[in-house]
Amino acid sequence: MTTRTLEWIIERALFLCAALSVLTTAGIIAVLAIETYEFLREVPVLDFLTGTEWTPLFSNQKFGVLPLVVGTMLVSSIAMVVALPMGLLSAIYLSEYSPSGFRRVVKPVLEILAGVPTVVYGYFALTFVTPLLQQVFPTLSGFNALSPGLVMGLMILPLVSSLSEDAMRAVPQGLREGSYALGATRMQTALRVVVPSAFSGITAAFILAVSRAIGETMIVAIAAGQQPRLTGNPFVPIETMTAYIVQVSLGDTPQGTIEYRTIFAVGMLLFLMTFTLNLISTWLRERFREEYA
């Protein structure tokens, strides 16, 4: 075999490895779609998407996914209320105010926050945060949306902070200096010049954070409860889409039953939601990168 042929073979082999990522995406879509298709043959799409009762495991089966979606949204919203403002403010501080020594110490610490396994956050939510909150709100149930929501916000904060900071640091120093030259304070510069310039990057960060919150599993599986419920009340047990998948996986559901298919149908919905958000976020970041090419 000539070197030429060998080189060609190697290049093909390398290509296949790279193409595996495409196969993975295709695999995810295929696995989810096949089971979802079978599911939708028995349950009309409209019932699934707009129904308000989710009791697929009971004898009186109802397949309306809204309680799970609302549960997910409730926890994620609480997380965003924590992570977005605090993350952005932290980023502004690190990017516009902090001395470099401080930043050098703090950034790795924030990285640690991001690297902690989510089961640890779940433990923290159930054993520390919930009892603490129950002292402030005695009517708070042991399983609720508030505690995991707050902890999830903490988990996502470093993501928002570091991505926003990247976006702000990419704003040319010249813009800042121009602003200072005109006599603006750091706050005015930050809020009126830097943030607006980094706007797409910051929005991309926010959207990615929402996507992360929606897809988060262990914190809610441990602390939020297993009761699908259409409610905006953060003090009672609820169930999220991800926690439902875990609940069914912990039991035994044989392949081919409609109960088995529900986890794929819910998974498909989850995938579509996060995929759309990720695409929007990537598009925004691309657009942002072009502005400062």
């Binding site: 490895c17 993975t24 995406t25 995810i28 696995v31 926050l113 433990y123 904060l157 998974g267 996060t274």
Partner: protein, 280 residues
């Protein structure tokens, strides 16, 4: 007036940062105080038990080690190969761009979706069952985007002069990569792999979905064994209401965190050594 507003704003944003750090400190303090007392040699070498005092992490620890080792063995060659293709061969072709788009999307897919993929594909379709192999294959897919992206970064740091010098001496593309570029990029590649694995070792949801069990009284003895891992053992203990198990869960978390921090430390050491070497 403006100066005041500026100062207040500075304080506000600093406090946001400090609150986050304080919460992290609370988390660390809570876990250490709950779990440090439970850590002992006995804890590391005992198997799970219905008695909290007797229960230990041995089998979960072994399971985690088996799974991570296999995940690394699967993800490293494939990830490096993919990165080499994209970085050295791919150029700006449409296919390469499409692949890149896939990779960056996959990096953001929730881990439980990978679990569903693993369940449908590895456990059921390919018949691997609820084995270490199925778990590792699933986690390898999860880790691939990170390995690929960090390997590409590492390859980029190799100066072009190395490549050109090699071609000038008559080497083929692959010979150049294999003999010159890759060895130089290795530290960065390994750093990326270790970071990806340190994420994987904390993953719970995908392994629960593919069926890692919670009562396993033996360590894996082959890639086809059923298994459990540290985070799932912690999850199991957290779910038990008896407060003695809370201590176990916290201690289990400490073991997990020690593993994680050691892996991160190794990655940092490897990266530092490279930075001190690689000036050409």
């Amino acid at each position: 007036m403006r100066k005041h507003a500026d100062l207040i704003f500075q304080m506000v944003s600093l406090s946001a940062l400090l609150v986050a750090l304080a919460a992290l400190a609370a988390l660390v303090f809570d876990i250490v105080s709950d779990g440090a007392g439970r850590l002992s040699f006995q804890f590391l070498t005992s198997i799970a038990s219905r008695n909290a005092e007797d229960a230990g992490v041995y089998h979960a620890l072994m399971g985690s080690i088996w799974v991570i080792a296999l995940t690394g063995a699967l993800a490293l060659p494939i990830g490096v190969a993919a990165a080499i293709f994209l970085e050295e061969y791919g150029s700006r072709s449409g296919t390469a761009r499409f692949i890149e788009l896939n990779i960056s999307n996959l990096a953001a897919v929730p881990s439980i979706i990978y679990g569903l993929l693993g369940l449908g594909l590895f456990v059921r379709l390919m018949g691997m069952g609820q084995s270490v192999l199925a778990g590792s294959a699933t986690l390898a897919l999860l880790a691939l985007p990170v390995v690929i992206m960090s390997t590409r970064e590492a390859l980029r740091t190799v100066p072009n002069s190395i490549r050109e010098g090699s071609y000038a001496l008559g080497a083929t593309k692959w010979q150049t990569i294999w003999n010159q570029v890759l060895p130089m990029a290795m530290p960065g590649v390994l750093t990326g792999l270790i970071l990806a694995l340190s994420r994987a070792i904390g993953e719970t949801a995908p392994l629960i979905t593919i069926g890692a069990l919670t009562y396993i009284p033996f360590a894996p003895d082959s890639i086809w064994s059923k298994f459990t891992v540290l985070p799932i053992q912690v999850f199991n203990w957290v779910s038990r209401p008896q407060p003695e198990f809370k201590a176990n869960a916290a201690a289990g978390i400490l073991v997990l965190m020690v593993l994680l921090l050691s892996m991160n430390a190794i990655a940092i050491v490897v990266r530092d050594r490279q930075q001190r070497r690689g000036r050409i």
